[in-house]
């Protein structure tokens, strides 16, 4: 589904990603863990062009969607193509980024109506069922400011799902939530995983990773140091730095 090949990313002199090679298969749930500043978010955001890689290749669904060298495009994409790729990738942000001037329902319906030009009636039905799936049907006419953090994030998930993406990207989805609200979001993510959605999750929630991930990837200082099943990574890490990181968290 996703193939990341020899990806480097520098911000000026600061090298943030060094020779990243990673493959995600369809239906896989892969969790990326690591210390702050290790480049995990940057990697995720490179997939939908929120960050542009310095060099390397990215394939989505076996199609080359990015090829760059020295911060220049080798394979250039039109804005329309980029938009298409973004439609395939649903993204959930750490700070939700809901549209505050629209109701919950409007938030969910906006993108499909504008981008995919689905009929309003069809979209209404689908949106309502998505909201029901994340447990927020009764809040459909509320404005985001009236919802708790956990509720907002669940709306964000429904909004991303509305575009029927093939892959869901989660960028530290629960890091900004009060602890007691984290579970409601993780529950939604777990049920998504059960349904077979391909998910790439940057997170600090080790419990979630242990329970749901097919693979855990540990990135430190821009490099993938560890890539294995959760059992192996958590119980028997091969790298010293992995051990050090885990001991600080768990």
């Amino acid at each position: 589904m996703i193939k990341i090949e020899n990806v480097y990313k520098s911000f000026g002199d600061l090298e943030v990603l060094k020779n990243i090679n990673l493959t995600i298969e369809a239906g896989e749930v892969v969790c990326i863990i690591g210390p702050s500043g290790s480049g995990k978010s940057t990697l995720l955001r490179s997939l939908n062009h929120l960050e542009r890689i310095t060099s390397g290749r990215i394939y989505i669904d076996d199609e080359l969607v990015d090829e760059r060298k020295n911060d220049k495009d080798i394979h250039k994409l039109s804005p329309k193509k980029v938009s298409e790729i973004c439609s395939e990738l649903g993204m959930v942000f750490q700070r939700f980024n809901l549209f505050p001037h629209m109701t919950v329902l409007e938030n969910v319906m906006l993108a499909p109506l504008s981008v995919k030009k689905v009929s309003k009636d069809d979209m209404l039905r689908e949106s309502l069922s998505l909201l029901e799936k994340v447990g927020l049907l009764d809040k459909k006419d509320e404005y985001p400011s009236k919802l708790s953090g956990g509720q907002q994030q669940r709306v964000a998930i429904a909004r991303a799902l509305a575009m029927k993406p093939k892959i869901m990207l989660f960028d530290e989805p629960t890091s900004a939530l009060d602890p007691e609200l984290v579970y409601e979001v993780l529950d939604v993510m777990k049920s998504l995983a059960k349904e077979g959605m391909t998910m790439l999750v940057v997170t600090h929630e080790m419990g979630f990773a242990k329970e749901v991930a097919d693979r855990v990837v540990f990135i430190d200082n821009g490099e993938i140091l560890e890539e294995d099943t959760p059992e192996n990574v958590f119980n028997n890490p091969s790298h010293e730095r992995t051990r050090a990181f885990l001991s600080r968290i768990i």
């Binding site: 939908n48 062009h49 929120l50 804005p79 329309k80 938009s83 298409e84 973004c86 439609s87 990738l89 649903g90 993204m91 942000f93 700070r95 980024n97 809901l98 549209f99 505050p100 001037h101 629209m102 906006l110 993108a111 504008s114 981008v115 404005y143 400011s145 009236k146 909004r159 991303a160 575009m163």
Partner: protein, 224 residues
């Protein structure tokens, strides 16, 4: 002294309607129309700047620089008295509208640009991640939020414009203030007549201030 006051009061009473009428027939339409076109220019320029639309960005920056850097009166003079030398002769009303619209457009574009920039980056990112184009993002997500922020400074601009229109008299457009000056010329009571003109301007601007409050309420609806 009483004779003088009686005379002054008489002048004020007689002149109130003519000055008010000039305001309603000349000052108000000039203000509204100039502001309308000015806002269109301001939005267009701001969007070009924010999306960095390569072909037009340089031209637009130049326009803002020139218009903000030269006095409005000089701009009006150039349009009305200068253009005829290259064969373009426009009447006073049109010249005034062009001058004021360009002015509102230049200053307004900076206000709107700032308002757009004040919308959190995360909004752009969410829109992008959902597959919305830059223009779709602007239309549905960014501008609605930016407008809320832009209302107080733009209302300011509008209220200022009401009074700036008095410059139009310099290019033969007889509006509110010019009528006050005409009456002053005959009666030699400038202070009282200018106070009266100021009062009438105040009336117009107060209406606008109320409108501003209403607009802020309407756009602030999404619960803050």
């Amino acid at each position: 002294m009483d004779d003088r006051m009686a005379r002054v009061i008489g002048i004020l009473i007689d002149s109130f309607i003519p000055i008010l009428k000039a305001g309603l027939m000349y000052t108000v339409p000039l203000t509204i129309i100039s502001f309308f076109f000015g806002m269109i220019i301001a939005f267009a320029v701001a969007i070009i700047r924010v999306t960095n639309f390569k072909p037009l960005t340089a031209i637009v920056k130049f326009y803002v620089w020139i218009v903000r850097g030269t006095p409005l009166l000089v701009q009006l003079f150039i349009i009305f008295y200068g253009l005829p030398t290259i064969g373009v002769t426009l009447d006073a009303f049109i010249s005034a509208i062009i001058g004021f619209s360009l002015s509102v457009g230049a200053y307004g574009s900076e206000t709107i640009r700032a308002a757009i920039l004040s919308v959190p980056k995360g909004q752009w990112e969410a829109a992008h991640a959902l597959g919305l184009s830059k223009f779709q993002a602007l239309r549905h997500i960014i501008l609605p939020q930016a407008i809320k922020v832009a209302i107080p400074p733009m209302a300011n601009s509008f209220i200022s414009l009401v009074k700036d229109t008095s410059l139009a008299a310099a290019i033969t457009y007889t509006e509110l203030f010019q009528v006050a000056q005409q009456i002053t010329a005959r009666t030699y009571e400038p202070l009282w007549l200018y106070l009266e003109a100021a009062f009438i301007y105040l009336m117009f601007c107060s209406v606008l201030s109320v409108l501003q409050s209403r607009l802020e309420v309407r756009f602030g609806k999404s619960g803050d």
